[in-house]
Assembly symmetry: C2
Homo-oligomer: 318 residues x 2
C-alpha cells in the first residue's frame, strides 16, 4: 500500500486514476479545484480531498495527514482554447503550480517519486507517423509550450536535486466523464437533433485515441517501474495507431444509432475543411518504451466509443 497524492484529482483523468489506484489498495489524497463532497470523492477513490491551489500551505497540510511516497501531477490548464484565450492563466496553472509542487517535494519529500503528466501537444505540428519521445518539435499553442516548460522544471529538479521523476505524455484520451472535445461535442449535437453534422477540419486529421481505463493502467505501471529509463525519463502513452477523425466520428454516429434503435437513422457527417491555425495534422505515439514495460492496450476503439455513448446518455438523462 502506497500513500499517493494526485494533483488535479477532480479532473477527467484524475478521477479515473484515483479510482484505479484505490482499487489496487493504495491510499489516495487529492488536491485541486472543485467542490467535491467526501461521499462523492470517496466513490472515486479519493480518501482526502483538498479544494485549492497547488501551494505550500495546502501541500503541507495534506502531508501532515498522509505523507505521500508517490505524486501524480495532473493539475494544470486543460484546453488549448483556454490557453490561447488567456495564456497567463494557463502559465500559472501549468508551470507555476509545478514549481510550487517541486519545491515542496525538494524540501519535504526528497525520496518521493513524481509522475508528471504532460501532453503530445509538446510535439506540435509537422510530424508524420509515430513520434518517439526524443523527437524535437515546436509545441502547439501556449498550452503545449507550458506543458514543455513543466517537463523542463522536472528535469531541472532531477539534475540539480536528484528528484525521482517520470514524464508521461498523453495523446487523445477519451472515455466516461470527458465533457469536452470532439466526442462530447458530437454527442451534444446529436442529442439536440442536429443533422447533418458538420465538423471542423477535413476529417483526415490523425490522432492516437486511447481509452481512459488503459491510460490510467499505463500511468500506474510507469509509477511502479524501478528499472532505469532513458535520460529524459519520458514515456509516450499512446497505442502507435493513428485513426483519422472521420473514422472515429463515424464510429460515434454508428454507436449513437446502434445503441438506440428507436432513432430515425444515421445523421450525415460533413467537414468544413477549415482547421484551427497550427492544429497538428497528425499526433501518433511511438509507444516502444511503454510496451517494453509490458503494457497492453485492452479497449478496442469501437467498444470504447460505444461505452462513451452509453455514458453520455446516462449522464445527460433527465
Amino acid at each position: 500500500m502506497q500513500r499517493i497524492l494526485i494533483t488535479g484529482a477532480h479532473g477527467f483523468i484524475g478521477k479515473h486514476l484515483a479510482k484505479h489506484l484505490a482499487s489496487l489498495g493504495h491510499h489516495v489524497s487529492g488536491l485541486g479545484h472543485g467542490i467535491w463532497p467526501s461521499s462523492e470523492a470517496s466513490m472515486w477513490g479519493v480518501a482526502d480531498w483538498t479544494n485549492g491551489d497547488v501551494h505550500t500551505a495546502n501541500l503541507r497540510a495534506l502531508q501532515a495527514r498522509n505523507e505521500p511516497d508517490l505524486v501524480f501531477h495532473l493539475a494544470g490548464g486543460s484546453t488549448v482554447g483556454a490557453a490561447i484565450a488567456n495564456p497567463r492563466e494557463d502559465f500559472f496553472r501549468t508551470v507555476a503550480s509545478t514549481v510550487e509542487l517541486l519545491e515542496w517535494m525538494r524540501q519535504d519529500l526528497p525520496r518521493a517519486r513524481l509522475i508528471a503528466v504532460s501532453s503530445a501537444a509538446i510535439y506540435g505540428a509537422g510530424t508524420l507517423g509515430p513520434i518517439s519521445e526524443c523527437a524535437a518539435g515546436v509545441p502547439y499553442s501556449p498550452y503545449g509550450h507550458h506543458k514543455r516548460m513543466m517537463e523542463m522544471l522536472c528535469r531541472s529538479y532531477g539534475d540539480s536535486y536528484g528528484l525521482d521523476f517520470r514524464v508521461a505524455r498523453l495523446f487523445s484520451v477519451y472515455g466516461p466523464e470527458l465533457k469536452k472535445q470532439l466526442l462530447w461535442d458530437m454527442c451534444t449535437r446529436l442529442a439536440a437533433g442536429e443533422s447533418p453534422l458538420t465538423l471542423g477540419g477535413t476529417g483526415q486529421e490523425i490522432r492516437d485515441w486511447t481509452h481512459i481505463r488503459d491510460v490510467v493502467a499505463a500511468l500506474a505501471l510507469i509509477a511502479q517501474n524501478d528499472a532505469p529509463v532513458q535520460a529524459d525519463q519520458t514515456f509516450n502513452i499512446g497505442t502507435g495507431t493513428g485513426v483519422p477523425v472521420h473514422e472515429i466520428a463515424q464510429l460515434l454516429i454508428d454507436a449513437w444509432y446502434g445503441n438506440n434503435s428507436g432513432r430515425s437513422g444515421p445523421t450525415p457527417l460533413r467537414f468544413s475543411g477549415q482547421s484551427r491555425a497550427g492544429d497538428p495534422f497528425s499526433l501518433v505515439a511511438d509507444p516502444q518504451r511503454l510496451m517494453a514495460l509490458g503494457h497492453a492496450w485492452q479497449t478496442p476503439l469501437a467498444t470504447g466509443i460505444s461505452g462513451y455513448v452509453d455514458w453520455f446518455r446516462h449522464a445527460t438523462a433527465r
Copy 2:
C-alpha cells in the same frame, strides 16, 4: 528617438545599456529592484526609474508616462549559485516575470519589439568549440533551465500572438560595475593581500569573454535590425574566441601589479582542481549571426581587464 523600457535596468548590464541608449538620444525608462535616486539613475541614462516587480500595475503606470516602442528584458535571477540555493525564487524572477511582461505587451503594446536577454547557460555542459544558436543542450543548473523557459515563453507569444521579439544570449560579460564572479573575487582577494591566490577548477575551463561596452552595442544593434532573422530569432553575443581561465586570471594579476608599480610583485596563481558539479568546461559562441549584422568587437581583453582593475580600485577606494 525611441521610447525604450529596460527591465532590470539597475543591474550591471542594464545600467550600461541604459547609458548607451541614452547617449544615442533615446528616452529610457527602467523597472526593477533597487533604490536609485533620480540624480544617480539619470547619470546612467535612466530618465524614469520604478523600483518594483515586473508586474502589470508597474508596467501600466510607466506606460502612462512614456509608452515604449522597444523593451529590453534583463530582469531575472542573476547568479547560478543563488538559483541552485533557491530555485523557486529564481523561477519567479526569471520566468514568471517574463509572462507578466509578455501579457502586458500582448494586451497593451502589440506593436512594440522585445529583446529578451538570455544566457549561454542554456547550452549547458558538453560543448566543445563554438556553439551555434541552434545547438541543443541540457541547460546548466536551474538558472539555465529558467533562462531557456524565458526564451520559450517569448517564442510562444511570437507563434500565437505575433510578438516581435529577439533573444540575445550573453556569454561571459565583464566590465566596470560587475561586482561578482571571477574578476571581482580575484580583485577583492588581491586587495586583501591574499597570496598565493588559489582559484577553483583547473584553470583550463574556457569562456568567451566579452566587454560590457561591446555587449550593449551588440544589443542595440540587434534591436535596430529589421531584416528577417532565423526562425528562432536568437543571437549569440560572443566573440567566437575561447580563453582559458588561467589566462584571464594571469592577465588580471599582471594588470593589478602593472597598474600599481608600488606593489611588492606578482602573486602566484594556483588552481584547486575542483570544479563545481555540472559547470560547463567550455562555453564559446559561434557569433556568425551577430557578425552578419556588422557588429565589431572593439575592446581587446588586456585593455578591458586593465580598465576593470582601474575601476575596482576607484570603486573600492576609501
